[in-house]
């Protein structure tokens, strides 16, 4: 541990369904799951292939795309902000709901905070201002309340929004 490891080039990640993808250590570091692996043994990390049985090639390359774009545009100029927004919109446009969900799982597995945060915001945007029924259906959640129980819950904080618009 006392010696500093040799300068590393790339980290090889092997998704469950495709070829090895090489990423720079800078990108790999943002994936906490990989990062802990590199920390444990940086020599092995650069010489062996890290298998990712829970992540598909599609998911991995999406996450890498996102990280690559965002780490290159950390600058603060206004026009960069604009193009980042465009990139984010395009990124989501290509994702259907099931892909979005799978990507959330992958980002969670790899523990990439930046991507996780971005995807959670995307899901939140999809359910914002929707009814309880819609949200249940969207998430595939089964209602386990009785009618009375649900009404009670609804009433608990109703005071805060009375006069705004009920129901």
């Amino acid at each position: 541990m006392a010696k500093t490891p040799e300068p590393k080039r790339t980290i090889s990640l092997k998704p469950c369904d495709g070829d090895v993808i090489e990423v720079s250590p800078m990108i790999a570091k943002q994936m906490q799951t990989i990062q802990s692996f590199i920390e444990d043994d940086s020599f092995i990390a650069t010489t062996t292939i890290i298998p990712l049985p829970n992540v598909t090639a599609f998911q991995l390359s999406k996450i890498i795309d996102y990280l690559n774009y965002h780490s290159n545009s950390k600058a603060v100029a206004d026009n960069v902000k604009e193009s980042t927004k465009k990139f984010d919109e395009e990124f989501l446009k290509e994702l259907e709901h099931d892909k979005l969900k799978e990507l959330l799982h992958a980002a969670n597995y790899l523990n990439v905070k930046e991507v996780l945060d971005f995807l959670c915001q995307a899901v939140a945007d999809l359910i914002q201002d929707k009814s309880v029924k819609f949200v249940r259906k969207f998430f595939g959640v089964v209602n386990d309340y009785s009618v009375e129980e649900e009404e009670d819950i609804r009433r608990t904080h109703a005071w805060a929004f009375e006069g705004v618009e009920e129901d």
Binding site: E96, D117, C120, Q121, I127, K137, D144, A160
Partner: protein, 257 residues
Amino acid sequence: MEATRFDDLPYDILGIIFTKLSLEERLIVVPCVCKSWAEVIIGSYCWQEIDLGNWSRCCDPDKIDRMLKMLITRSSGSLKKLRVFEVQTERTFTFVVENARSLKMLRLIRCNVTDNIVKQISPKLCMICFLDVSYCTKISAYALEIIGKNCKMLEGLKRSLHPIDTVGKPIQNDEAYAIASTMPNLKHLGLTYNLMNTDGVLQIYSKCLKLEILDIRGCWGVKLDKVKIKQSFPKLKILGPAPEICLIYLSIWPGKL
């Protein structure tokens, strides 16, 4: 309707999603979905950031007090960011600071804070990095000085005023001097429609050497040679005194939090 089911998402991810919803969604819709969601949403994790923004803007002050009390209790000491308008009661300010020791960003907008309240609460705000006291017309340079002396980690201060509050009033540099002498670590400073003149601004940027963004839109007493400033302080971006829009600035003090 989607066939996709999201019901196998881990609770910590659900928690992150919930924190991004509006207040009404978080308090009414989420707990109504099912029992396990109701349990997740009362977890302190979901209330590290509280934004009463739009809700508090035109709400009865008693309700704001009640809401703050309820949510800050839920956060059980983990509150990091708070944004609220129109808080009127002194004991609510005290309640907030006493129960939110990890607060990093506090935005009290159009609130009834006075110099005296600031004096009481600022020793407990020593962890704060971003403070917004815009449109709080009852505080003076004295309050800013107390804040500067107590909040040594302060990186961002916003004290916007409304033109109506300052129209016809004489030039005053006391707020600018208070900032310059007590807040050396500021990176972002917003002082729209402040009554200072050029001398006040000079004091600020000669003392706050880490300053990156200075918003002095509407400070009509200020005349600056921006080219010269650019040469001596290449990192500093000054907005104003004339109106102009800066997206970076907006992202530092975003609408939601």
